[in-house]
Symmetry: D2
Subunit: 138 residues, 4 copies
């Protein structure tokens, strides 16, 4: 399963060099992850109510920035899971302007639940088969 | 040369799970990089006027997120260059809450100049010795 | 002239109360203003090259927040100029979820040029008739 | 009761005109409100546990932008409540660079609780006397 969505590059996303301030790419990656999840039926409510999870928080994020983006650029981000481990999975995000790959990100995420010790702590759990299946279908 | 500065975790930095929305870590890393540069005398004006550079843009950024941070947490970020190549250098950012390492980021940056072809393009140049020296002193 | 565009409410736009962190509304208003300008042919390049302006910076911004928005809400923002003075104009931004008005913003903007004294200062200039005309047409 | 805190203007806060992108002022105002609340003993936990409130969400926000701010500027924000109504209160935020007033914001906030109908809705309640008292002391 892949999801592609269009992202406008806004004036406020850019810096004094007139190129996108890089943390915004990660903001877009997170939004892209949620769109892929939604396509798989995994809304925040479903994470919470069906699986008892707070969601799929990040444990590592990386991006290569290949071509600077400017205000007014039209980009598309394609996202998909490209590997599964017992407790983590890797999400790839490809940022394209037309056919040009401008940035490529990888997020490593877990499925996390709230600790039951009264703290606000969270911990990773083995990824439910059902979540893996939902994100792997075409 | 290292720089350490305190960063408050604000309400607006956190998400519905009440933990910091991860792109904010990269926002902090960028601010931390600029503080290290400033400590070395490398303000944006110095980059522009002394070196003819637009600054030191990112080509890759990575972070491990080890412990979630919450609104009201007091953190410190320590930043330093830990390797130099001809055109790139690696900046490490360690996010500590007390003595606990909560996140660790690596930014790969270049020294970039504006293209002279009238486009708004930019390109990496060999890192001026002087910039390397300034960022390596204690 | 009015412009309406759809804005997705992202996970990262929301806070621990699971409602949109309010500064994001102003981020949306600024993006909406640029879309209205673009519809009138007023891109950043046109501001700079045709009019010698740095753009149309804000001198005052206000918003009423009527109904909290949540992650996954689909909203539309309609923007238009509703009054002109010699040096300022008022932009209205209406945020609708379906037919429900959830927020209403007003930005007061000026047309600004860079000072020529070598400083980085800016100053408001009388609004060029041409800009007023472009933003007033249907 | 007033609270004053220093805010660094970061590179990432600024736009292609090299001045602060205005929604960031509102981000600062929200952080300043929380600092004032904290000074009065009103942390998010206290709002929740002592008063059964989700916090003090915004119903209206306004700012005048008097002098543009640039990367590297050192500013201080002074915040205080300047009027109380039964369900709303007005918070003033003064942004100073040295002695120069660069922006002035007013937030109108309410004390809100979660609806008990199972929805995620919220509603304003009469401001607890205790909260008013805490925010009015010197």
């Amino acid at each position: 399963m892949k999801n592609t969505h269009a992202v406008p590059v806004e004036f406020g996303d850019t810096d004094p060099a007139a190129i996108v301030f890089y943390p915004n790419f990660f903001r877009w990656f997170d939004a892209s992850a949620w769109r892929l999840f939604a396509k798989a039926g995994l809304t925040l409510d479903v994470f919470r109510q069906e699986y008892g999870l707070i969601g799929a928080p990040i444990v590592q994020a990386t991006s290569k920035f290949i071509t600077p983006l400017r205000f007014g650029d039209s980009i598309e981000i394609t996202s998909y899971v490209n590997s599964w481990q017992r407790k983590t999975f890797h999400l790839v995000h490809e940022v394209l302007r037309g056919t040009e790959l401008c940035a490529q990100g990888v997020e490593i995420r877990v499925c996390a639940e709230r600790l039951t010790d009264g703290s606000e702590g969270i911990r990773a759990v083995p990824i439910p088969d059902d979540i893996r299946r939902r994100l792997s279908e075409d």
